[in-house]
Symmetry: C2
Subunit: 306 residues, 2 copies
């Protein structure tokens, strides 16, 4: 079974069974997230309630799974990257809460329910996001499964990932850069800052936890870069073709925006997703390794082509 055939056969789920590659791992991440958050009866109750609510809504947990699979791929312990992966999920969740705010995307739905500010108030949403980002650093600092030097390197990696050249810059540019100037090159760099950087942190961090050398970390980064692009293309496509009920968040929010779908049309976007995944997987050699299977599964599970 080739990658291309899997991607073509996206409607025939019965022809291969990849679901269990990631379901058990997602369950483990969910359990660990629950444990890493303050208990439901901790004060101040409404803030903790909001934080737990948004974090524990069902999610794909892509970043934690990538971190764990990366660690295993580079010869490390998969579970050694569990807490780091959860820290990434906390940061990802914080970024969703912030992006949804009235002063940003002003979104209504997220992960199948009302956005956090609609449900708990804007002040609570802002404080919950800040607490989540901050908590991610505490989780890494306290991660006894990882060497102290590596933990510190992970803190540095995350700060780069989120900060002035990462997620924050990406979100700012997405809000403020004029639509008229969005060509392929600008969109690629924007997508990289909005999505690619956190995928890269997952892959590179996992490799670091496994003790992989710089060359391997660079391979991990290139893989993440391709995967991030494919994922963002798929996200744009979903926004274009799907319904809010199906994907649990606002759709058609890109109607006034330039995306790869508006630049290229649906067919070319689909073709590019497939090519980009092929490129990513080709760099990893064995198309049957758990990481490759997960990536195939992810795009199938996520409804690629459906």
């Amino acid at each position: 079974m080739t990658i291309a055939s899997v991607l073509r056969e996206s409607d025939s789920a019965a022809s291969f069974d990849l679901a269990d590659v990631s379901a058990a791992r997602r369950a483990r991440v969910d359990l660990r997230l629950r444990k890493l958050l303050p208990p439901a009866d901790a004060a101040p109750l409404p803030l903790i309630g909001a934080v737990r609510d948004i974090c524990l809504r069902p999610g794909k947990r892509v970043r934690p799974l990538l971190a764990m699979l990366s660690s295993a791929h580079f010869g490390g312990d998969e579970l050694a990257a569990l807490d780091f992966g959860c820290a990434l999920e906390l940061i990802h969740t914080a970024s969703l809460v912030l992006d949804d705010l009235p002063c940003m995307d002003d979104a209504i739905m997220r992960r199948g329910k009302l956005t956090l500010h609609r449900r708990f108030g804007e002040d609570t949403a802002v404080l919950a996001a800040v607490a989540l980002l901050n908590h991610a650093y505490g989780v890494i600092a306290g991660d006894a499964m990882v060497e102290i030097e590596t933990r510190l390197a992970l803190v540095a990696l995350l700060s780069e990932t989120v900060g002035f050249r990462g997620l924050v810059a990406g979100q700012f540019r997405d809000l403020r850069d004029p639509e008229a100037l969005r060509d392929e090159q600008t969109l690629t760099s924007l997508n990289d800052q909005k999505t690619g950087v956190l995928f890269a942190a997952a892959m590179v961090g996992g490799a670091m936890i496994a003790g992989a050398d710089q060359a391997a970390q660079m391979r991990a980064r290139l893989f993440a870069n391709r995967l991030g692009l494919a994922f963002q293309l798929w996200d744009d496509l979903q926004d274009f073709v799907s319904t809010s009920e199906a994907i649990g968040k606002d759709v058609r929010k890109d109607d006034d925006r330039v995306t790869f779908v508006t630049l290229w049309g649906e067919a070319r976007t689909r073709a590019t997703i497939a090519e980009t995944i092929e490129e990513a997987l080709a760099s990893f050699g064995d198309p049957n390794c758990p990481l490759a299977l997960y990536v195939l599964n992810l795009f199938h599970y996520a409804g690629y082509g459906g």
Copy 2:
């Protein structure tokens, strides 16, 4: 010259000259902050501009100075705590930007100019605050003056300080706890979460950088606790007696709120500030050590009794 006499003689500045105890240190912190932030011509320009604007406005730099003086007090190098102190200032600044937001205190003035969201927009203010908090962790991770184990301990300390039991919880409670329930005990715990925790992080972190043992760290924490209370009382008092021009931020914002000034009146609040500082300093032995002189200077410089 006793502490009490200094506090009584607050109008006769000529009778003692403490100003230079902290002026040079403040200048050093300002220079270092400027260097730790992205350069003014870095992209995305408006975001970096907002971040530099709010961080580089004149401030008292209390937390950096406490960290540096704490390190020196416990036998360490004062400058070894400079970057940690700057990280605290970044976090403090982020907390001011967030507290000022329309969905929180909806403030107009901060550090002598318009609040960040009034000047640059709400989206920019939120992203600037998040970037500042996040950058603080990067600064600590990259601080070559501090041992790797200590850096990691500082990350853990900061995450505790900001998070679910620290600044974020304090701000949430301040916004949401009913005024009717604010008695001395509640206000004390609230002030501790809003102000005391970051003073404690400065003192304890400084002690950790100096290699001080647990007992010394506990003394540092108790000192910070007293100082934080005095500082918050003074802040409440300023809100009550001062003008926006004089202190560079909104005043009378507590008019509908219960503070120690409304519970106790002005005279008792002033007396308690003096007592609390005496208690703090008494725990440190020598009333002429740089840390003691700085605290006296701070309350004089800040216009205590003026």
